[in-house]
Symmetry: C2
Subunit: 692 residues, 2 copies
């Protein structure tokens, strides 16, 4: 990767022959940026571009450049790329658009490039990329001007769009280095992460992700690297990511975006919802350590800011610290009898009466941030554009605060008023506190840092999750769908509870079986042609006696023949009828991230309330319990209105058994245990489908 | 109000004797602001403050000042205020803190001030206020410096905190005039609104509200004025506003904050969730007309911005316009065969190939904004800090767009990159488009303008909602709680459906009644001492025969006596048992805004899923239907899995009947019809309580 970000020599191919307005000439931009690499230019028609001799052919370049930057149209790209390969160039950035970002022809060309690259051990960045930006070593391949940062921040970005390079300030509060993977045909997030892992310039990593090809592979280095360097991910496309067309309830309940949520969390990363949050969290990490809990203290010169901060805490997942000792009481002054200091601490009245606002802010801030009941501090303080207010200079206030504290907890500051910009300028690079543009961004930043800390505490070990590949190809039915007996058989092998029942092939067999297992019973059609049978009369419940069973049998057979005249009579399943609370459990294989285990409220409310919990396999018992606890339905399971609790342990076992099943059979695409009926006596899966 | 905001003469009482650093002297600030009023100063000890002669006593001031500004401590305030009254001053701003904002003593003093004011026809602003800011006429009473805006924006703010005056930019994107009502002891939101209604300087009104005393009174002028001047409300304290301790399910389900939500919406205002949204919506209205639908088109120079905009639409309540005609197709150029123009329209490839990005942006923007399928436009465009990119000057682009369009729809712009601030400066006051700091704020602003438009379309007429006061005091029981027979009687008068049942006083009566209405039956204790009876065994359901009824009767009586040994035997209610879907309906009187009608999913899931809809009384049939439609449970009512729909009309009738009940009896504090059981045959209220 160093060859991409800081090459000793570089050759530009397809660069515009002229510079100036509207040329979007990446050589010109590179020179303006102050590049240190040796530069070579290839152009078929001109002799000289911006003072550099232009070689007609790549083969004429006197050395083997460390990096090639190609900006030619897609129709010429293969021959140029072959020439680069022949020359022995090992690193290529393809700037041009019109590949997998465009149409099928473009995708074919891109695949061909990858093939040539593999054969020649070449690594490609792009196509469809601005390439790289390196403010530390002074190198960029951008064709739009990006001013060089004189003192870059230690943040490295791996992104899928040049806009993040063009306005690092708006997205990540500044940029040290950035890699635009473009279409990600070869160099991707994993390569970027591995590079930044050991890059001494970089302490924080930001990712902008539209899609990820090697999702599960990404989680391993991400989980390792995030321990040392916080990784903040803006994953876009949330709005499209509802459950796609699926063959099972589980399939439709596990939306793609929800899987990204779990996966990123479990790798110990922190996800930003939008660009405001990405900027806020980046900003926090650029200046402060993360919050190690959710308890925020607020020092403010105005009551309203305190209330707005409380609302923001509620929105972004923090809460106001409740200070149970005398910390605040001890700071009050007897001169203002009517005044009580709380959290949020509105210090203005005390400041006015004592005649020294600054002293009060320092005192209260130090007390709060050093208090064991507080994990972070928000200071909302005015900076007026008038020398009349020189008594409340924030620079001196914050320096006094930092001096008196251990600087282990983050301090977010909203400095407001017309003088704020001026005052902030000289303090922007100081550590120990971070300025924000408003209360919400401050709380977003703090809350993001807390989520990072929390995710680090509860993260999965992605070292050992390679599929165990025990698969025996003979167990998979030809059409890939397991129902009824087949499904139940597989389930029993994993100790998944199956309701007593029997596949029957005749009416007499049905009557005998029912006598044995006892009424009431349920009779249902099992056919892979009829997956939504329960919605269409294919299940008869509440059969109380032999007469009812006879009727049910006859009706079901007739209904099936009417519906599928061309099919032969399917299997019928006779089960003991169990009554109780209904749950759904399931597995879904998400193409990027692997198997997801689902647990949720079942029955008719499944889709209406979508009260479900999801976890990436493998799922531990502890995680399984957490899934169940997170359901709104959980209190019902534990028993409301005087009822006894159901056997939660048996539900935990279902989840972990499903997880084992998923890990053993990577080919499983969806599993539905729906419903699983649970009552005081136990739990039973009444219907299931397993789709390979 | 003019006397507060632009007085001909003003007297300052309690002003600090010296000016300078740390003095917080409001005379000094007023002079710096460039005041035009005649100024008088009262001080007991000094002869001169900042060049103004100081009168020892207010009576010595040679004229009757139009406005007095009092900054003395609370212990001296009554005598000073009396002196103002005696002098004949009719408008007073009380800056000092320590009144109802502090403790009981402060509240008593404040009440006394109000009493004196009423007796002398004096209006008070405050206490606990910075007073006013008037950038148009050049007047402020603030004791902290607020630089005067040379060309103020037409936005008037009515707020409960000085911070909004101190940093108008951060909260409302600039300020024309502002009124800080402080504790709101007299002058409040209603006065502010009425003033801004006819103020020719003000076109947009922003409100920061912590609490409102005259809520229902406020809605009338708010609803009238918002038609002409959009009113944006930041109502804080969302996080504390969960359902307070309540005697009914309805009480706990209708949180205070939800009531503000409905009330503000129904008055045609637009609520901002936080300060970012307040600023974004203010900004939109300062430059553009509102969106008249939810369909947003996006023109962008980068694909990522389009995806982020789609996510933002999803978050804030807009959606991407789907352009069904050939508008976009017609704009493509044959030079780039692989390129398709969609919404979001990523114009960069077209711009690069045609060599004229500006032309493409103008063309595509004009086509989209003029398209009938589009309600608003977001432009995301780069501004690079380099003369290399002079071909994409946004000033000329936007002027060309505006010239070619009717300017009836809003255009939000995020201009990004290092050159953006510089380019924006000269365009900040232009109309027809608004700059935002990022994609999310742009979409927030657009979405807020759409909510304003929608709320205006569906707003209530608050002219005729005065309670009809038909109350007959004799109908209210002494302890205020109606249960059982009493409640059912009142309900029948309002055609609310009550299940067949009878209050019984003996076991024999129970047996006879059950024989008449038919088994199965339900038996329950009716006692105002035992409101949560169903959770504690006070209801027996599913009684199938006389023997079961006898047992149930005996058990209930025994249980009640055990639980309340000192109480005499309560009434028992015997009802026919009905089975079906369970709903809850109710009324809650919210102290500020009046009666709220609730409809929701009932039974054990009521509190778990909180699937409820709320509306301010009076509720029309149309609104009632909308309430039901908004429930997640609605599809179940309409029939899922082949079931027939329940009688929706009968549910609408319940809601409108409850609304009538609420309007007739302003004394009603809470009503619960819980559950109302509904099946194919009809609906029945099975249990109810009415609390006065």
């Amino acid at each position: 990767m160093k060859s991409f970000l800081n090459p000793g020599s570089v050759v530009l191919i397809g660069v515009t022959r002229h510079g100036g307005v509207g040329a979007y000439n990446n050589l010109e931009v590179m020179l303006n940026f102050g590049v240190a690499s040796d530069i070579y230019v290839v152009h078929p028609h001109v002799k000289n571009i911006l003072g550099y001799p232009a070689y007609t052919n790549i083969m004429d370049v006197p050395i083997i450049p460390e990096l090639a930057i190609i900006s030619v149209g897609r129709n010429n790209i293969i021959s140029i790329f072959n020439a680069c390969a022949e020359k022995g160039i090992k690193r290529v950035i393809i700037v041009s658009q019109g590949f997998s970002d465009a149409d099928e022809k473009g995708t074919r060309i891109q695949n061909k490039l990858i093939k040539i690259a593999k054969e020649n051990s070449i690594r490609i960045m792009g196509p469809n990329t601005l390439g790289v930006l390196n403010n530390f070593d002074g190198f960029t391949t951008s064709f739009v001007t990006i001013p060089k940062e004189p003192s870059p921040v230690p943040l490295g970005a791996i992104v899928q769009s040049g806009v993040f390079l063009a306005d690092g300030q708006s997205f990540t509060n500044g940029l040290g280095k950035a890699i635009d993977i473009g279409n990600g045909s070869d160099i991707d997030f994993v390569d970027g992460l591995n590079y930044f892992e050991t890059d001494p310039d970089i302490e924080i990593i930001a990712i902008y992700m539209e899609e990820i090809k090697r999702g599960r592979v990404f989680l391993k280095p991400a989980s390792r690297i995030s321990r040392k360097k916080p990784i903040i991910v803006l994953k876009s496309g949330r709005s499209e990511a509802g459950g796609k067309a699926a063959l099972s309830h589980t399939g439709s309940l596990v939306g793609e975006d929800a899987v990204y949520d779990i996966a990123l969390e479990k790798a110990g990363l922190v996800r930003a919802k939008n660009m405001i949050e990405l900027k806020s969290i980046s900003n926090l990490f650029l200046h402060c350590s993360p919050m190690k809990g959710q308890r925020l203290a607020v020092v403010t010169a105005t009551g309203a800011a305190g209330i707005l901060a409380a609302d923001a805490c509620d929105d972004y997942g923090l809460h106001l610290a409740s200070i149970k000792d005398d910390t605040l009481k001890n700071l009050e002054v007897s001169a203002v009898k009517w005044f009580n200091l709380n959290n949020p601490a509105d210090i203005w009245p005390l400041g006015m009466v004592t005649g020294n606002v600054s002293n009060i802010v320092v005192k209260v801030s130090v007390s709060l941030i050093e208090n064991d009941q507080v994990d972070g501090l928000l200071i909302v303080f005015p900076a007026f554009a008038s020398s009349l207010h020189d008594d409340i200079n924030f620079q001196s206030i914050i320096n006094r605060i930092l001096k008196k504290t251990r600087q282990e907890k983050p301090i977010a500051v909203w400095l407001y008023g017309k003088g704020a910009e001026q005052q902030k300028k000289s303090m922007l690079r100081q550590k120990g506190f971070a300025f924000f543009e408003n209360i919400d961004e401050a709380v977003m930043g703090l809350a993001g840092s807390w989520r990072y800390f929390r995710n680090q505490q509860q993260k999965k070990d992605f070292e050992d999750v390679e599929p165990s590949k025990k698969i025996n190809p003979s167990v998979i039915p030809s059409n890939g769908i397991y129902l009824g007996k087949d499904a139940f058989e597989l389930m029993r092998r994993y100790n998944l509870p199956v309701v007593s029942g029997k596949i029957i092939n005749s009416r007499d067999q049905a009557m005998n079986t029912a006598d044995r297992i006892g009424y009431p019973v349920v009779l249902k059609v099992i056919s892979r042609h009829w997956l939504h049978k329960s919605d269409e009369g294919g299940v008869v419940v509440g059969i109380r006696n032999p007469r009812g069973l006879k009727d049910a049998y006859n009706n079901l057979v007739a209904l099936f023949h009417k519906k599928f005249p061309e099919k032969r009579l399917p299997e019928l399943l006779l089960q003991r009828q169990v009554v109780g609370k209904e749950l759904i459990f399931g597995i879904k294989r998400e193409p990027r991230m692997g198997h997801v285990i689902l647990a949720g409220m079942g029955g008719i409310y499944t889709e209406i309330f979508n009260d479900t919990a999801r976890e990436l396999a493998p799922v531990t018992k502890k995680e399984a319990e957490k899934m169940l606890r997170s359901l709104k339905y959980y209190p019902v399971l534990k028993g409301i209105r005087g009822e006894a609790s159901v056997d939660i342990q048996s539900l935990i076992d279902i989840i972990t058994s499903l997880s084992e099943l998923a890990m053993d059979y990577p080919e499983i695409s969806e599993v539905d245990l729906n419903p699983v009926i649970i009552n005081q006596e136990g739990c039973w899966c009444v219907d299931s489908r397993i789709i390979f």
